[in-house]
Symmetry: C2
Subunit: 323 residues, 2 copies
């Protein structure tokens, strides 16, 4: 029976869009005002993959872990239909580890530890079967690693999305500019958009980033939602106001994963459909912050996503007749 | 001809909802990174009235000014169809004066001067013709002044809206609680909501304010928009992302004036219609910040408001079919 299921899955995949995700698969240790964790599953590719798994796409993660990485975590990704052929296991290496402590407002944090370990020498290898993926999601990593993934694609992707952070602006700005030139969508937070452009106004910052290459700019504002820019068009999705943000770790990656997954599934890369992708990204991110690390995302049902999408509609939609 | 016009105006007013506005009519002197002003027209009732003048309502301002207040400014309000019978003129007194300097981010400011002058002994008098107003807008003032206006109403208003600030929480908290008990809607900014309740989460803060009396709670988040709460329902209106915020003075009052004016005009005080009122408030506030003080609001055409409302629709509306 299991063989038949696997075989049917293989056939089904032929009809799905492919989404290749490069990013970290990692250990996180997190402290928030609500408590702290030991080393738990984390990493950009993990959160992106878990979010994208809610859409009917053939997703593959490209990453690296050490010999200390539990098989259970790899199985968890596989069971969510995330292909892990591109996740290299360096037997005698240690997995990337990040540790941080959030302040009371949950909007700022201190990094307590960053151990690159196997990430220091990471050479991403895109599996042959995914070199013709329709959508490429370049999770937050050194821009040269992101570029390497792009260069391995044998056919031009329909959409390339890049996520990055201030760290690469500080230490690899030229490389970052080189890869930004080659992408369609950038997702970046508000402070990073300001740093990258030297502009305080997000409208002006988005225009300057647009001039660097990406036709679409998504500025993530944490609890204040996300803005999508394209030419003179703007779209604003709020974050769902929550009683409690338990742990913001991975929320930005989850947003990107929902955004990429929805677009890959629908194969409609128009601005109008990107609005929907932003809403799906925001919806998934609103779950991510409810528990530590990936805990909420691992156990998230599609029916819950559907219900929260309806809440998002009620939160944002109004009915004024304008002649 | 002029007499006929005045007479027709009188007849027309019989079919309009009445809106009574209490608040300051004042001089402001403002410094921003873009420049500075001498003493110009300001005050909560001024901004609220100018915003409300875009709706077909019979609005009256209740306030006080000194003998130094230019007739031109009073005429300006009258010409916008704001009744000023309730604006007391203290001939030998000086008008309330506020001066402030905004920081580069435009989200914070230093108060340079606050001269209460005639405001120190202000006893508001609601004109008889407005004691049966459908909507009462209590602009930011001492809560006892706000209470006094409520007590003068001879018939119970359909809707009482109150705006306040942290200053009254610091020095007149008990009076503030007393008036909050008697109102339907409170408009308050995010930091003030946190101060009033001791809660960081705005969802929890709104619930606690709800328990203090108001059935509807509007939390203003400046450039991040506004949230409307009612029981378990939430609505989120973004602020229009702008290339440049020139001067934020009066934006919150303009929001409140648009909110109150729209509700008075439509006479529909449901949650669904309040969503529309929040959008109108946000739209009008987006104009207010484009120039110093009241300058933009004084010259704002209805056609411009209509056009920006359409931008707001595009900014926030999406089209996902959810079964």
């Amino acid at each position: 029976m299991k063989l038949i299921a696997v075989y049917l899955q293989q056939i089904l995949k032929r009809f799905m869009s492919k989404l290749v995700i490069v990013g970290t698969v990692a250990f996180d240790a997190i402290e928030t005002p609500f408590g702290k964790t030991d080393k738990i599953l984390g990493g950009a590719a993990t959160f992106i993959g878990l979010a994208a798994s809610h859409f009917n796409v053939d997703a593959a993660a490209v990453s690296v872990v050490g010999g200390d990485f539990p098989q259970d975590y790899l199985d968890l990704l596989s069971n969510k239909n995330i292909n892990i052929d591109g996740v290299e296991i360096v037997k005698d290496g240690k997995t990337f580890f990040w540790s941080g402590r959030y302040h009371n407002d949950m909007n700022s944090r201190d990094t307590l530890a960053t151990e690159l370990n196997v990430l220091a020498d990471f050479n991403p290898v895109v599996p042959d079967a995914y070199k013709d993926s329709e959508v490429v999601m370049l999770g937050n990593l050194h821009p040269m690693v992101q570029m390497s993934v792009l260069e391995q694609m044998t056919s031009k992707p329909k959409l390339v999305i890049l996520d990055t952070m201030n760290f690469w602006m500080d230490c690899a700005l030229e490389d970052l500019h080189n890869v930004i030139k080659k992408i369609d969508v950038i997702t970046i937070n508000d402070e990073e958009a300001r740093q990258l452009t030297g502009e305080y106004s997000l409208v002006v910052a988005a225009r300057k980033i647009h001039e660097m290459g990406p036709k679409y700019v998504v500025i993530k504002k944490g609890e204040h939602g996300a803005l999508l820019f394209h030419d003179d068009h703007m779209f604003y999705a709020p974050a769902l106001p929550l009683e409690e943000v338990f742990d913001p770790t991975g929320a930005g990656d989850t947003f990107a994963g929902g955004f990429a997954g929805y677009l890959a599934k629908t194969e409609d890369y128009s601005f109008e459909n990107m609005k929907n992708a932003v809403i799906y990204g925001s919806t998934l991110a609103s779950f991510c912050v409810e528990k530590f690390g990936t805990e909420r995302m691992v156990n998230l049902e599609n029916s819950e996503v559907h219900k929260r999408m309806q809440q998002f509609k009620q939160l944002t939609q109004f009915n004024i007749e304008l002649s």
